[in-house]
Assembly symmetry: C2
Homo-oligomer: 422 residues x 2
């Protein structure tokens, strides 16, 4: 009996520790050896998740092929076959971004992780940055830059607004930033910001051009190299249709030069590109050194998503999003709804914003379609809350059939949701 | 024809921009409208990943049930059903950690993300921290704390060494840290560090006790509340057998008090617990506000892993790891191998370290079992490279059958790998 008691780990440790003879009394207590928290009964029920039409701004529905890839037995994050899969992902991102950049990776995290990774690595404390804010993403970028001690200057427009190249030029002259942040697909407002010429302006003013394409990539034309974008990132869960959790990110040589000649270390070890570039085989070194454990299943899914895009062709994907979005505009207008972004050419094909119909509470409408049509359509986000409804038909979801489902659900909601007489 | 040309997005934007009449010449170029990077041929081949026995220090094999959960159609990250799943995960983590802490979440990322999250939120620039380094994880924690401007003090032992409570007490007195970091399961050395009494010492010295249990959770007894651990985190891909990409993390009231009364904002917006606590429904506010898009599939898998642990029972899981690891020790010794951690009671049941057999190159052995047995057994990590081989039988992989496979593979490797005559 005594022996059995001694075999208990806690007692043994206490004994061993006690024999060292130099410990405060608190350590002589026996190890806590019985459970005080019982197994939760909720976990004894099976996982349940309804089927939903994810027609909001993302995540969007994941095609069976991508789900199957993500559900495959995993291998180790440092196995040679994993490195090959990562190399394939790298090539797929280069294609999707239209870039030859060697420094092209997928960050282990969401679009926000890529945003932090981009800013953390290219900006040092005390440096000036310029952030274009016309929705939530610019707000977030400003917040991130501020936290690492950058001097944050902003250009601000209301949701739906955009910045002319002249406005950007003047701000570059005034603030002399080392980095200019712009959102290509402003999903909170449904705006696709014009990109042409901005990269050239940034070069003239010795500034890096950082573009967020989370909501636009694959759904609207974007050419990283030709448009002189220095840093570009996106997310996995929009037009790429992978589950959220991985985020493509690329840096060109200008960005690498700044990033790898910095004087201070980035605040995050996890997001330090010195290590991530090695993990992704971008640093030219013969061996990849363990840095962190990447999301193996997430990389399987991301590779499959990029394979679908490569098979379909980027231009076909852009064309499809344009066609379906135009079909969507017509149908929404036929329901008497008004599109939030007036200029068709500034609309973001993957995410369409609709002005909240007069007399309705937007929450009634989104709740109604969720409850009666198992469909996600969302309200605004950040500064656009209360201004818009948002319909996203992205990648796998991008079809006229799905647009028809949206029309039916919204017509039903408009009929049944309470309307004030105002 | 002219109209069709004008319909092209680039041309239209150029026109629109031109009419504003205030732009530099560079913006008048037509948008780059053709692809310069072709679809990569590697992506036109199907995804391939071999079946592997993942008997290294993790990730470990994922059971079919967990793979199936991760491969289910996703729902939105802000749907009510998702919040219910997150609530279940929270309860599962409370059980696995043996804690009643309300501030219990899963971070969207690997164990490293949880490590950064814990340190970023509880330490401010200029504050003193104490880090116990007896393998790679302490080194990493020190690096992270240094980057955010903490005054980093270390206690250092060679891999396999551990710290007595008296040593820890003296260091607490000397350095007056706000936080003490210790690794419970030092997977690079195969050591399970004694925990009893340290939490009490930290309380006496007004210091938070942060414990890394990435490699130990579910495989060795640990009682967050009873052992007075203030902050505890783990990873999903070890004894929990989910794919890598989510990381359970819990803070007690002492930790919350420090974390939520800080003067500076944490450097990371993404890892700011003010927002993460709301996202996980831990802040008592009625509504959850969008912060970032969590890894929906990863949360499905994590819930399933925690359900398996709840069904099995934590004590049964600890017992199983202890039994199988003892069986493993015997078999390894029967092959003439020597265990790296001499004291049985300090060995980490989920990850066993073996001294590299005399005359062999460790890489030959790991390469051999990978090639001929499709089995991952690894070398050391960080300071233990060249000192050990590591065998991990965790969770789903934790069985005597698998230990037998390890014996067969190692016996074969020892027979066929070159041996110097020394």
């Amino acid at each position: 009996m005594i022996q059995r008691a001694l075999m208990r780990r806690g007692a043994l440790l206490a004994l061993q520790v006690a024999t060292e003879g130099a410990l405060p009394p608190v350590t002589l207590r026996r190890s806590a050896s019985s459970l005080s928290v019982p197994p939760p009964t909720c976990l004894l029920k099976p996982l349940e998740a309804p089927y939903r039409y994810l027609f909001g701004p993302g995540p969007s529905n994941v095609p069976p092929r991508v789900l199957a890839a993500g559900g495959r037995p995993i291998i180790g994050h440092m196995h040679n076959e994993m490195f090959e899969i990562m190399d394939d992902i790298k090539k797929g991102i280069q294609y999707a971004f239209q870039t030859q950049n060697n420094m092209t990776i997928a960050v282990s995290g969401s679009g926000h992780t890529a945003m932090e990774c981009a800013i953390f690595n290219t900006v040092e404390p005390g440096e000036s940055v310029l952030i274009a804010i016309n929705g939530i993403w610019g707000e977030r970028a400003a917040e991130i830059a501020e936290r690492i001690g950058a001097r944050v200057n902003t250009l601000v427009k209301a949701p739906g607004g955009y910045f002319t190249n002249e406005e950007i030029k003047q701000a570059l002259v005034k603030h002399k930033p080392v980095l200019f942040f712009l959102t290509h697909g402003e999903s909170s407002a449904g705006l696709a910001h014009p990109i042409d010429g901005i990269g050239e302006l940034c070069r003239m003013h010795e500034c890096l051009f950082l573009v967020d394409s989370v909501a636009s990539l694959g759904g609207a034309p974007l050419f990283m190299d030709k448009q002189n974008i220095d840093i570009l990132y996106t997310g996995s869960q929009k037009a790429l249709n992978a589950p959220p959790g991985t985020a493509p990110l690329s840096f060109n040589d200008r960005a690498c030069k700044k990033m790898f000649s910095r004087k201070t270390k980035p605040v995050s070890y996890l997001l330090d590109m010195t290590y991530l570039s090695n993990y992704w085989g971008c640093d030219g070194k013969p061996a990849r050194i363990y840095h962190h454990t990447g999301p193996v299943s997430g990389f399987f899914s991301l590779r499959e998503s990029l394979a679908i895009l490569a098979e379909m062709g980027l231009e076909n994907s852009w064309r499809l999003h344009k066609e379906v979005s135009e079909y969507l505009y017509e149908g929404l207008e036929a329901l008497g709804l008004k599109l939030f972004v007036k200029d068709k050419n500034l609309r973001l094909p993957p995410v369409t914003t609709v002005a909240i119909p007069s007399g309705y509470n937007w929450r009634d409408i989104t709740n109604y379609v969720m409850k009666h049509h198992q469909m996600e359509i969302t309200g605004g986000l950040g500064p656009s809350v209360g201004m818009v409804l948002r319909v996203g038909l992205m990648g796998y979801n991008c079809s006229k059939d799905n647009a028809d489902k949206v029309f039916a659900a919204l017509a039903d909601a408009l009929k049944h949701c309470p309307k004030s007489k105002a």
